[in-house]
């Protein structure tokens, strides 16, 4: 297939960017979207133009490195699919495709399609863990976890940290990312001791960097792992509780 690409090019974080138009020909429909960009880059290099910078590592939809806004949609037209898992068969011959970086205040563009996403790491550092120093753990089967809870925790833990939720949000909010990690840990018995401390610290850190949630739901639509927006409700509930929970009694009575 032959395609016209409108690609955002920006030399560095300080400079302004604009769209450049390129033609690529003879693209196989079995190619992935990023392989199509690889072909474009080979063409550009051979013709003496600097290749388009974009982030991509595992190309299996799990590392969360890649992420492009394709025709206005983070990760492109296919639902529940990271950019690297999107294939050209989802496009038609002769189509014009617009490719942009994530657009969010918290994710400044570094160059072309590459953005800086480290505020997501700051949220995890604030409390997205269970304090379990190496070597201190009891036998793994000492703590039974009901299958339903383990499965729900896994649904939330499937987040790949790509930032599509932020890019899709009109407010540039990171609620879905933050809620996914909070839910993963708060749903498990091991996560109870730090439950409210964790929730409060992570939400407060999130608010430092990102916009606020106004329930648009765009994040869930864009998420390549189909993380449910229900986790945001769970996070909000735990956040409010964190403000009046008597933490001295956390281990003594049923939490919930």
């Amino acid at each position: 297939m032959d395609l016209t690409l409108r690609i955002w090019r920006q030399p560095d974080a300080e400079s302004d960017g604009d769209f450049h138009v390129y033609a690529v020909k003879g693209i196989s429909s079995d190619m992935s979207f990023l392989e199509m960009l690889d072909v474009l880059n080979e063409q550009l290099i051979e013709s003496g133009e600097e290749p388009v910078e974009f982030d991509s590592d595992c190309r299996e939809g799990i590392c969360g490195t890649c992420g492009l806004v394709i025709n206005g949609v983070p990760h492109g037209p296919e639902r529940a699919t990271a950019t690297c898992q999107l294939h050209m068969r989802k496009f038609s011959d002769g189509e014009t495709i617009t490719v942009e970086p994530w657009r969010a205040t918290a994710f400044p563009v570094q160059r072309d399609l590459v953005v800086e996403r480290s505020p997501l790491d700051r949220i995890i550092e604030a409390g997205g863990y269970i304090t379990a120093p190496t070597g201190a753990a009891p036998d793994a089967n000492e703590i039974p976890v009901p299958k339903e809870a383990a499965d729900a925790a896994m649904d939330a833990a499937a987040c790949i940290g790509c930032g599509a939720c932020v890019a899709a949000c009109p407010n540039g909010a990171a609620q879905l990312f933050t809620a996914a990690k909070i839910a993963h840990l708060n749903l498990l018995p091991q996560g109870q001791a730090e439950r409210y401390r964790r929730t409060e610290a992570m939400v407060d850190t999130m608010e430092e960097f990102f916009g606020s949630c106004t329930n648009h739901g765009e994040c869930e639509e864009a998420c390549p792992k189909e993380i449910s927006i229900d986790f945001i409700a769970m996070m909000n509930r735990d956040y409010i509780r964190s403000k009046f929970k008597n933490r001295k009694r956390l281990g003594q009575k049923k939490v919930g």
Partner: protein, 639 residues
């Protein structure tokens, strides 16, 4: 140079306990006086950094990713082994040890493997405490499954995303230490060389991938947890950024490189669809628990798979290996698939695959049971191939996946450069000539959580009171000017015409054809002539546009490919030297009558550790003899 493995004496069950007691300790108030550099944030690196930080050391952590969570450990699908015997099926530390030594075709160090099996149980405890959401039974206890190369169910898993969940556990532990200030993170920072002074590793030199700035970092010890080198083949299941540069630069500074020809070709990957393929995608080996592998008996059979009756199908693994069937180890399964495709039985548009069929399992267990176990893998397969594996058998073919070879390390995981450690896939230590499924995650975490935190202390205790080598020391000047020169040579080549990928593809093809699943004296000789010639052409002709003072992925790639060229020669050199077949190393000259690998224990029961002797010079071979006191050497049989 004599290689001292430093394996403790005594019965194998007691070696690690004895060694832990005999190693020197660093008192808590002295730990903060030491700085440890950890390069790489995959399972081994993140686990080591977090654990060392918890102990109170100052840890400087480096990753070329934007976030430590993105290392390629994250893509491991199937699971992690541990000798918990939760299934009551006769597993034990001794059995995991035995399986791993046998699976590695008797080319690993017994003591290391036994330690790995011992700490495997602690890893699961640790990960559960961190909140890793492993699969559970309805009673709330942990579930297990079986995996290739084993007859017990000892594999713990989190859907098809076990690597992701284990890495997130380690990453979160690291995040906690970053917040606590014991670990300092340097992201988008690529290590380009090791600094060695008076024979000891004292620091590293890095390039900031966003600004191009070259920086110097000093430490009392350096840990390389920088992964494997399967990307030397260009097409592999590794991530795009995976490379050998950190390990190779350490090699050039004096660290011996062990068994470079021991590479693993994973049997269940999606076959390539065209020449622009940028990487291959693995389908977890766990699929072989329920999928049956077959090809049409008639090479000219063009019927769609569902119209080929049972009588016309050849379930070749079940036929040739009745005891293990579809669960034979990876090397055996891969070679068998190659044999079928080479004999014209390949399926798919390019006739480059074999079927992995779930129809029996679906009718036996129901579609929902299969969906529960493998749903995300089936989805991934469909996304890539546009075929639905619930109704059409998957097509699979082997692809480079893991490298058992790596930097030579002693029992303490220290390389031949004092103070320089290698952990995880970057070292050679535990898997011999073939790694068993679900053992890479185990080894990465064993090294990071439970080995390095002890052994590094033993080294540092001897250097108590020594201050850090200042970064303006001449040792740093020399290394930095080397690095700057290398970057400048690449970016300054204005006459180049072809992209770095162009050369990487060509190098990969030479390696795959001659040092892939089958190696021959003739092919390796040819590769050893072609690789340096292509390397020269690459250095003359590679075109890198743009500058070195900002984000420039062509420049990054070219530097990594430059090192792959030299490594590729060493892989072929090692493969040529090893006149036997073992595990993933199959020399056509050395096979049994029915085409299985034929080892030569009398002459090749050693680790081949290669010493760098200079650009263009023949590397020097050093041998560490392998002594087997606890496992009897036998021809591996999975029949």
């Amino acid at each position: 140079m004599t290689l001292n493995s430093k394996v403790p004496s005594g019965p194998i069950e007691d070696k690690w306990e004895t060694h832990k007691f005999e190693m020197k300790l660093v008192a808590p108030h002295n730990k903060r006086r030491f700085t440890i550099i950890v390069v790489g944030t995959g399972l081994a690196g993140a686990a080591a950094a977090a654990s060392l930080g918890e102990l109170g050391y100052n840890v400087e952590v480096f990753t070329y990713h934007d976030s430590p969570r993105r290392a390629h450990s994250i893509a491991a699908q199937g699971g992690i082994n541990a000798a918990k015997n939760y299934k009551n099926d006769g597993d034990s530390v001794r059995r995991l040890f035995y399986d791993t030594v046998k699976g590695g075709d008797y080319r690993s160090r017994e003591a290391n493997v036994h330690r790995l099996a011992e700490v495997s149980v602690d890893i699961i405890d640790q990960c559960v405490a961190q909140g890793v959401p492993f699969a559970r039974e309805y009673g709330g206890l942990l579930d297990n499954r079986s995996f290739g190369g084993a007859q017990v169910s000892r594999t713990f898993y989190a859907r098809g995303q076990t690597g992701q969940q284990l890495l997130l556990g380690a990453y979160q532990a690291l995040a906690r230490q970053i917040a606590a200030g014991t670990c300092r993170l340097h992201n988008k920072s690529e290590m380009l060389d090791v600094v060695v002074k008076d024979g000891r590793a004292v620091g590293i030199v890095c390039r900031d991938l966003l600004t191009g700035e070259i920086s110097r970092h000093t430490g009392h010890a350096v840990v390389l947890a920088t992964g494997g080198y399967s990307n030397a083949f260009y097409l592999s299941t590794n991530a795009m950024y995976c490379n050998v540069t950190a390990a190779w630069r350490a090699h050039r500074r004096g660290a011996l490189f062990a068994n470079p020809c021991f590479t693993q070709i994973h049997p269940t990957c999606i076959p390539a669809s065209d020449e622009f393929q940028s990487k291959l995608t693995l389908m977890s080996e766990s699929l072989r628990n329920d999928g049956r592998i077959w090809v049409p008996k008639d090479p000219d059979d063009t019927r769609p798979p569902d119209q080929i009756p049972e009588a016309d199908r050849d379930y070749y693994l079940e036929r040739r290996y009745p005891a293990f069937g579809n669960l034979v180890p990876r090397d055996v399964a891969s070679r068998a698939a190659k044999r079928e495709v080479d004999n014209g039985h390949g399926v798919g548009p390019l006739e480059n695959g074999v079927y992995l069929d779930f129809s029996n399992a679906i009718s036996r267990l129901g579609r929902s049971a299969i969906e529960e176990k493998y749903g995300n893998l089936f989805e991934m397969y469909e996304r890539i191939t546009d075929e639905n594996p619930y109704s059409v058998p998957m097509r699979i073919y082997p692809a480079p996946h893991y490298t058992m070879g790596g930097l030579w390390v002693d029992y303490n995981l220290m390389t031949t450069v004092p103070g320089l450690y290698a952990a995880g896939e970057a070292n050679f230590s535990d898997h011999g000539a073939n790694r068993l499924g679900a053992s890479a995650l185990m080894q990465g975490l064993a090294d990071g959580y439970f080995v390095l935190p002890y052994t590094i202390g033993d080294y540092l205790a001897e250097h108590l009171g020594e201050s850090l080598v200042p970064t303006n020391d001449p040792a740093f000047d020399d290394v930095e000017s080397d690095v700057i020169g290398r970057v400048a040579r690449l970016v300054g080549n204005k006459r180049g015409t072809r992209s770095p990928d162009h050369y990487h593809r060509r190098l990969g093809k030479i390696l795959w054809d001659n040092c892939g699943m089958e190696r021959s004296r003739e092919g390796l000789g040819k590769a050893l002539a072609e690789i340096p010639a292509l390397h020269d052409e690459f250095r003359r002709d590679v075109r890198i546009l743009g500058s070195d003072d900002g984000l420039n992925s062509s420049l990054e790639k070219a530097g990594r490919i430059d090192d792959f060229f030299q490594l590729a020669s060493l892989m072929c050199r090692d493969a040529l030297d090893r006149e036997e077949s073992c595990g993933g190393h199959f020399r056509v000259e050395h096979q049994t009558e029915d085409g299985e690998a034929l080892r030569d224990d009398e002459n090749f029961s050693y680790v081949a550790a290669w010493e760098w002797t200079g650009e263009g010079a023949e590397p020097a071979l050093h041998k560490e003899p392998l002594v087997f006191e606890n496992v009897e050497l036998a021809q591996r049989s999975y029949k």
